[in-house]
């Protein structure tokens, strides 16, 4: 299936776009999405951490994606 991914902050600079889409095998967990992404964009490996929000909530590596989920890369936050 195709997963559309939105990026903010440094993630946006790494993929050089505010969004991208990746073709992944079904079922696809957050963890394997992360691996696919890190393989495609090696710069992500240099970040302190990288999390994913699915439909506006943080999700762990074992969380399974559905087609149509709102997937957002969350690099280290620095608000305040």
């Amino acid at each position: 299936m195709k997963i559309n991914i939105v990026a903010f902050g440094i993630a946006k600079e790494i993929i050089n776009s505010p969004e991208c889409s990746l073709e992944v095998k079904t079922p696809c967990s957050v963890g394997s999405l992360k691996e696919t992404l890190m393989a495609k964009y090696e710069e992500f490996q240099k970040l302190k951490s990288i999390k994913f929000a699915i439909n506006e909530d943080y999700q762990e590596d074992r969380f399974l994606l559905n087609e149509g989920d709102e997937v957002v890369i969350i690099p280290p936050v620095s608000g305040g």
Partner: protein, 138 residues
């Protein structure tokens, strides 16, 4: 009452203070974050904040939920600004009112500490000769 907003206009301390007033409040603690002129001895020119707004609001509301549960606060106001900020401008204000002051200090400090850990907002420091997304690199 909770007043939780992400704004692209200047924040106002008095407004956040007034939002948490209550006849049962004995103490109000207001934290105001300010853009410093330097970081690690390097001169900062401007800051740029961006946010994944709907999720940021959701995470800020989770913080508020916890303040009510754990400290029995009366009201909370969290305003965070996004966009380009100059030195001395205010990226964040958190105001909390409680019947007794100790809880207001603890709750307000918990709120800003947690906001900096969980809320999807990103800060880019602009120097004369470059720019850095804060906290991104080890």
């Amino acid at each position: 009452m909770r007043d939780i907003k992400i704004l692209d206009t200047p924040l106002n301390t008095q407004l956040c203070h007034d939002a948490v007033e209550d006849p049962a409040a004995g103490g109000i603690v207001v934290f105001v974050g300010v853009v410093r002129d330097q970081t690690k001895n390097r001169k900062v020119v401007q800051l740029v904040f961006e946010s994944y707004v709907p999720m940021a609001l959701k995470e800020m509301n989770k913080i508020a939920d916890l303040l009510y549960q754990r400290w029995g606060i009366l009201h909370v106001c969290i305003h965070h600004r996004i966009g380009v900020l100059d030195i001395g401008e205010i990226p964040v204000i958190i105001a909390v009112s409680t019947p007794h002051r100790q809880a207001a200090f603890e709750a307000c400090q918990y709120a800003i500490d947690t906001l900096k850990e969980t809320v999807p907002i990103w800060k880019k420091e602009i120097f004369k000769d470059g720019a850095v997304w804060v906290s991104a690199r080890p």
